[in-house]
Assembly symmetry: D2
């Protein structure tokens, strides 16, 4: 049974997560979160924090350089120092880099990347969709309601976003390549647009939201887009839009990344908590 | 048959409206809109603009002092001057004050206030609802999805807003007094809350949106509201929230007025156009 | 405070209602419901049943001839006999005829017709809409989903039915006359069709559902309807469809009356109970 | 380019399909459909029908014994005879048995089973869901609206059915095993129920609809179900319900199979046509 949890570093979501885990009756010790006022059980050292823990939780993303991310702390924690102290532990964090997996090898550490959990990706799609809707409302002089909106891609974000846009009253079209996805788009009541027919359809839309992680809206495509349209790109680097062309063509463009943490940090923490509880159950049942 | 339309003054919505009426094949002359680049048929004088018009259209709101509103013009047009030139005409504008009706009396002028048209009020409720949703997403650290949202009042805005919130995935409760409204709330699938049971229910909601034009959220009520809730007030002066109390209690509060013109000026112009076309038909059929 | 309730006669809905009122902790006595096995507190005579009652409840509809409706009883109760025993009482039943009001006059009886309560009409519209959807699915060889469905009239049933049809995935158009209703139809996301443009639009629809209580689909209109369309008429006598013409033209037609009692007697009883509780409160507050 | 299509045997859906393909400008020849009046291009023999065909289409299901299914014909066509005449052809039919694949081996015949196309399965889920809703409305004395409905399984039918039930106003809960599916259920706004918590939740539901193709509702589970609940089983043999136990426990039960063909044969034909056109494109692009 998992009971003692150590939390080391992290942003507002991790702070909220610490409180939520306490409410679920876990014993939570924290380190490198001391600047937040809500945090209670503060360990004085990394060692003290981790020592009795059944599970150690780290930042999301874990690190961007040789230190782990600790925006709520004056303490700096080196990745190497953390690894040394994890011997025999299960450590859960987000966006753990390949080099860190390599460092942990042979040290009897179980590293789990919460970002790879599919249920978290599904839940985060909800927050991303809401963020996209906020942008779409605020950056266009027209209503979403009764307006033609095109969603590129029918993966996780495409599915949730289409549902919300439809729910708010937009006329939603979704682009996909696979016949199965096109059947789903029809089943959900949106207009299906096959990728091979995308080009000739682009000029019907006031708002185009991309979720595909490669450049589908290249210069040739962008030339078909209405000059007063808004393009929102939700796909991470390199995104789905030719950034140079979109600028040259004077089309309004918003590359909106990492929306869940920005738009709804508390809900994001809740989704992380739910995912962690699933992970705990799986660990306990092994 | 209405054919010639004179448009005098007004903001961006009136500019867009002028273009839309031209696309519907009306002959449009404008005055006091000359600073907008899209405007074509510019009359040199007020008289020239109005002379042959079947209908004269003015700003929305018409005036806030002795001049009519002309933000797109260097020309100042006195209300009195306008009235003098309207003899024998039908004049349509927004929020026409009682004193102006009095001035027009006995002068063979038909004054019509477009703001009093119920279909426009219904359509504007769509824009108001979208604006409220944008605020709700951006000013809370939680998702709307799966969150408890309370709408006070089930009039035009309450109805459209509840539908959109539900469509985006919120758990919507609506407050009303009348048993019929409560039955409608149930029929639409929201949770009905009778005004007399409002107080004991307030602490369940993260977001409360008022549409009732009198102070329903007084200090006594506000004391029941969650400290980290967001209150959005969509009701015009005096609004539905005790402004002093809400500040003293430290509850996040946004008094959001005139959203349609701010959030979606182009759609607002379209709604005005649709309403005008209805008015034209009624005038022609008299 | 209302405490003792007498129930005299009625169909399955009244039986269910009796049980529901007991669960709400009312003292319920019944007469002329004795053939149902669930009924407990059976009075031996009409007088015994009514004697101590704060409120007396009768059938819905109350009567179709000189006797009140008592399908669950071998006892026959004359309307006149009932009236004689109601002196000093408040009596609630459904579809109380004018002649019965006249008979009760001057006898210190308060007669209330539950059918005239608007909240009940709204709630019953839910059941009617479900019944219409069941008919539409079972009597057409096509899906409702993605199909063009026309609803005539945007009153209570029109509103609820359109919402459900839209929810099931149909492409919904609604006919109305008033500009305000047309604006509401647009706000709710359906296609608005003005009555004056109805004729030229009729041939687009596979399913047409009427809710208007006068003959809108006359022969001239019906000649525009697709030969393989289905027309469902939910309006009570004379209905909204020329019965002779629809038959001669060979169009599939279903005049579906009194759906709530047929499709969902238990939910109908619940709706009656809710309405009664509203009436009780109003009586108590007088 | 596919141009000439031979259609051999089949039910009403195949008749409709023949007409639809003609409207798409294919040259269609038919055999063993001669008893339907709409059918035009009737070949006199199987050989004549197939001879010039680019594609041959057969019944769905293809056969239940040594003959193929030809309900619209007096001609009997042996499976073996058909196979002999398909040399060099591409043949598309439904539910082609393993033994028929074996018979065709080495004969230069391409056999394609349309039932295995995932887009058809998705589209047919729409018809199945509508059929289930019709049953749910007609076989319960309560409304679906505001009622608690449980859907077992969140595959194709589960997804479409939940959306429709939600759209009609039911309170929808979905059972699933996988954490990802449970996250999707939450994202779509239904109540997620983990299989391991199913048993203790069963007694909350008035309607339970199974889509899982193994016996999830065994006797132990069924004992938890309300006595006046309705269970609809949409899963093909053996279904998801212990048939003996459900009968002994006196729970209302409907095993509803092959709904698309029954509820909406014309839409089913359309879905087959769309799928065929996808298949044609893939064949042409090879």
């Amino acid at each position: 049974m998992i009971k003692n949890i150590a939390i080391v570093g992290g942003d507002l979501r991790i702070v909220k997560l610490a409180n939520m885990l306490e409410k679920e009756n876990y014993e939570v010790k924290t380190y490198a979160l001391e600047k937040d006022q809500e945090i209670t059980n503060k360990a004085n050292t990394l060692q003290e924090c981790i020592k009795d823990a059944d599970i150690v939780i780290g930042p999301l993303p874990l690190s961007s350089n040789e230190y782990i991310n600790t925006p709520f702390s004056d303490n700096k924690v080196k990745v190497d120092e953390l690894i040394e102290n994890l011997e025999g532990k299960t450590f859960i964090a987000g966006q753990i880099k390949q080099e860190i997996y390599e460092k942990a090898e042979g040290k009897n550490i179980i590293l789990l990347d919460i970002i790879k959990r599919e249920e978290l990706a599904v839940l985060n799609a909800i927050s991303t969709a809401e963020g996209a809707i906020q942008i779409a409302i605020s950056e266009t002089p027209k209503n979403l309601h009764a307006n033609n909106v095109l969603v590129l891609g029918f993966g996780r974000i495409g599915k949730v976003l289409s549902k919300m846009l439809d729910g708010i009253g937009a006329k939603v079209a979704c682009e996909a390549r696979k016949t199965t996805d096109l059947a789903w788009i029809k089943a959900y009541g949106y207009e299906p647009i096959n990728l091979i027919e995308l080009k000739q359809n682009l000029n019907r839309f006031d708002i185009i939201i991309n979720t595909i992680p490669f450049v589908v809206l290249n210069r040739e495509m962008l030339q078909e887009v209405k000059k007063d349209a808004l393009i929102i790109d939700l796909a991470s680097n390199p995104g789905g839009v030719d950034k140079v062309a979109v600028k040259e063509l004077g089309i309004k463009f918003n590359w909106a990344l990492s929306l869940p943490g920005k738009v709804s940090p508390i809900t994001s923490a809740e989704f992380m908590k739910e995912t962690l509880l699933n992970m705990f159950k799986e660990i306990e049942n092994k």
